[in-house]
Symmetry: C2
Subunit: 691 residues, 2 copies
Amino acid sequence: MANCITGGKKRYDDCWLGFSPFVDSTVLENYKKWCSNIVFDEEGETARTACDELVRSLQDMLSIKPAVSCKPSGEHFIVLELINEDSPYIKVDKEEIKQVSFEGFMIKTVNTGREKYIYIAARSGRGLIYGVFKFLYKLVFRSDIENLHIIENPVNPLRMINHWDNMDGSIERGYAGRSLFYEGYELTEDLDRVRYYARLLASVGINGVVINNVNVHYQETRLVADKIHVVKTLADIFRKYGIQTYLSINYASPIQLTGLDTADPLDERVAGWWKQTVDKIYEVIPDFGGFLVKADSENRPGPYTYNRNHAEGANMIARALKPHGGILIWRCFVYNCQQDWRDLSIDRAKAAYENYQYLDGQFMDNVILQIKNGPMDFQVREPVSPLFGAMKYTNQMIELQITQEYTGQQRHLCYLIPMWKEVLDFDTYAKGKGSTVKRVVDGSLFDYKYSGFAGVVNVGRDYNWTGHYLAQANLYGYARLAWNPELSAEKITEEWIKLTYGSDPDVLGTISDMLLKSWRIYENYNAPLGIGWMVNPSYHYGPNPDGYEYSRWGTYHKADHEKIGVDRTVKNGTGFTAQYFKENMEMYESPDTCPDELILFFHRLPYTYRLKSGKTIIQHIYDTHFEGVEQAKELREQWLSLKGKVDGLRFEHVLKRLEEQIEHAREWRDVINSYFYRKTGIPDEKGRKIY
Amino acid sequence: MANCITGGKKRYDDCWLGFSPFVDSTVLENYKKWCSNIVFDEEGETARTACDELVRSLQDMLSIKPAVSCKPSGEHFIVLELINEDSPYIKVDKEEIKQVSFEGFMIKTVNTGREKYIYIAARSGRGLIYGVFKFLYKLVFRSDIENLHIIENPVNPLRMINHWDNMDGSIERGYAGRSLFYEGYELTEDLDRVRYYARLLASVGINGVVINNVNVHYQETRLVADKIHVVKTLADIFRKYGIQTYLSINYASPIQLTGLDTADPLDERVAGWWKQTVDKIYEVIPDFGGFLVKADSENRPGPYTYNRNHAEGANMIARALKPHGGILIWRCFVYNCQQDWRDLSIDRAKAAYENYQYLDGQFMDNVILQIKNGPMDFQVREPVSPLFGAMKYTNQMIELQITQEYTGQQRHLCYLIPMWKEVLDFDTYAKGKGSTVKRVVDGSLFDYKYSGFAGVVNVGRDYNWTGHYLAQANLYGYARLAWNPELSAEKITEEWIKLTYGSDPDVLGTISDMLLKSWRIYENYNAPLGIGWMVNPSYHYGPNPDGYEYSRWGTYHKADHEKIGVDRTVKNGTGFTAQYFKENMEMYESPDTCPDELILFFHRLPYTYRLKSGKTIIQHIYDTHFEGVEQAKELREQWLSLKGKVDGLRFEHVLKRLEEQIEHAREWRDVINSYFYRKTGIPDEKGRKIY
């Protein structure tokens, strides 16, 4: 399905689905042989999507028109079917086929002597779609298809995308143009683009999408009621691609939408209203996914208004969803956003744990807590939230931010997969060694009923979807990690580059290197050593060392003439470290064992303190900031080396962004270095220019 | 003219024109005797306004219905007439009457034996209005009217109000609700309120109003063309009160409004377009005042785009205005707003002088340069702009900011008259001792053709007009100073209080004291010692010591661990002091003679430097900031003592604002003190709490 072409001009970039025609004739002839006939005889809408995608992409790549029929015609063919023990094509071990889960798939090359076919099978239409794309990618990678033998199941049950789109067409923290879904409080007229978007998401295994901002304003509150037709239209599009639709809701909906004067979860009228509302939604959208809720957070209403805890608050709505199989996703981003900066007794890092951990066991089984990766808010470097693994009896999922709010807003190159890998591989020790975050959120550690990934997406109406062309990799990589967090960053990166830019080894090597080091580069010229928040308030772009220092947001570095950092130890500080299991608690508690990169998050230290690297803190700050700018320049040099090997549009666009990044990295370097130099009076050992 | 009353409720506050009924019977009976008959026989619209105002206010105060006729009926009466040598009522010395200028008036009690009358006379309708209000105020003050003998002429020819209103209804730097003039790109429907506003302005002698923001956006650019009807409607209202209407224009108008691709002032097509446009305006509004221009400033277009200087840029438009008697007011707020903070060679303070001074003598005589009081931008403390007096042959006027952008945004009490008095009394030494700013801007020092005052107004649609009830005093006081800069702050304050709150000595004493000290209080807890700019960027409210430190705006304090301030001396610094005449240059050049309150504006000094007060800079910072909060608390105590003596609505409103001010002064105190304590490590001598 090529994207809509108007007047000879594409309306948007293909991303990783630009299945371009093969020019390498040997492999082409072989693939043609296998792919010209497709056996397909399924009824379901999603299964049909799988078949359509297969046909269309084979056409694009191989310049053939594959025949689709319920019987094979010829010696070589493809079988695409839902798993059925009576099928004549199921030539695999019975035990093996059992390994395919509801969303998984099998791809196997079968040779019966008489017939040779590629068997793509799954238990659901969704699984078929995933299998088809897997197969298509194999072709793009020029794989040997004569001996395929693959079973793949997604590791995480929930692989969700969160949109922070508002119905006026704006996107909170969006850096790639306006909303794909809305404009002027109405549904977009460009549903073709939404269809392509659904295809993009399905092609990497996304199975749920929350279509509106967690900060639910007046118009969006109406989505559960008189604006439900908007939801239905989008749900119909996403369903075709095996994606369930969810809504962010306003906890105070009954107040806004009815005559009720309360949203108290223990008030029967409130519960009754939600039940009725949910029932009506499911009448219109029978496979509706459920709700996402930001309650009692950053001035959003919630159960605390009525002196109810968050289990009481969540369960009331979960109860309404349960008969329909709906789930309630409850965000744990709850903290005091009216903090007096002078009040040293409060530590925002502790908030999520304090608000939720004690409620373990009290939530209904269709409630899932959605927890941001770190205890603060998507900084370039944070420790892992101690809430992961700390609730045995409560479903948990992880929230990652694909949109680069604090990581360069898609103007800087900052590939987030390496960061997310570190988070997912972090051992919580919740059930002893090996209790990694990825095992918490895939549900295996505590056998959660629901769990998985939520990613705040980075797309908008820009031609290239993500503002920065290379930021497409963050969307791709997020989905791949949600599918299987064991995949290495290198592997994901290689896949994405090959699908998007082809397999030229220079291109592959160069872009891969650029991506994989980009997060560390960004960190180098950003706030140092895990302290975070040295950004301009509100819009969160550009350096401002004291930007949040005297504010109400609870995010302080407390830098003075001699020291910097927040003591979060049990011994002398806020006691945040106690929220971790013993092994981590002990590691963070002492500066001797706390990793350098987080040392100012956990400790308050003099600028002359020597890091494990052997450098003083102040010299580390100077060095990393000078280095960061040099590295940004290097990124540009590397990209320039690809001139002629990357298409002109992408090449020029990325080059411009990289130049902007260098300029802005200089700004970061000089502001941060000047700030610390002016404050400490300690000169750079190397005598470089500081202002 | 009471303000429109709907359903028994006033729609807006009367401000100082709440002429309430007299209850003191002796004086009432006497005033009634004099005021029941008015002799008036003028034709002009503005003169009729004067008479209407007299009648209506006498009704309100004295509960009478004065008879108006062309002949007196009775022994006592008032004569209201344009000066006419043949008038039977003109019983004054011929030489004396010559002293009345075009905008002045005479009020004289005449006793011919047979007849006793109060003679209010002027050379213009405008003068009559001013005379009437003067007389009415005399009544409010319970003055003896049996021996009046007054001649008053305004000192400044231009007494203007600048509105920063946008046609969408917003006001740039407005803190009192939305625009009085516009909403949704249309003229307001509430023209009654505009009429009351015109009355308010006329009652204190304002004679010109610029009705739109100096930052002229798309819709406002159209005011000179297809939206001229909007201007006409407002001009018709203001004219009735003797006020001329002016427009802010977009220098790039010919580009926006026609097919022209240039706004080059030396391009004949451009000049031709402006001539045509101006001619059309005067067809619709024959007494149109002229234009105000912000060119080449903060991203506004201007002659620099075409490599023309500002004399060339201004004269081209002035030429179009001249045949109609129109004037061109050209703002000198021109500086590099894309400065690299690392570039120490640029000093924004020098910009206005550098851009204009060398052009002296090159401007047409209907061009007036409008100069902000200080060289930066309306900070709580700045030196006087060195441009005043530095251009012998170029008309100059002063721009003051009545709206409290940097001085508490009408949430803090900050009465600006004492500050403006200091500015006006500042001796520039341009023509030797006594060359005060007030003598520059009243035109007397260099015999300017046009000159005077412009004030960026603080009104909006709030019930009380100015956000803070007591901020009404800034509008009143501004106009009074424009009328006569010799008036003392105490005198103006007393007038305003008596007109607004009556003559109770407690009320008078208390409010007067509160107002007169409020600017110093605000300064105490604000940025110290003339350094300025320690505010949150963009909205300019609340403390943020480094808010502008690493920005492009050219406003830096350069505080480091040891020193703070900008060296602007000739000897070691930017050389800004050289822009002053010798006496001031020498005063500012040395820290020994530079006044304490400006010392960090002119000098970079260690925190341990001893001020003339005997205190170190750091201790001065701590002391003033602690003191400022205590003083803010005292303001509240003083106001509380007026309970029952000030009407409830005003009392409660002001009380709330004062409480907010205390809270916010604490924030200022703690942020500024903490900032310096953390930076210097020098403790407060008195051991008070710093964070």
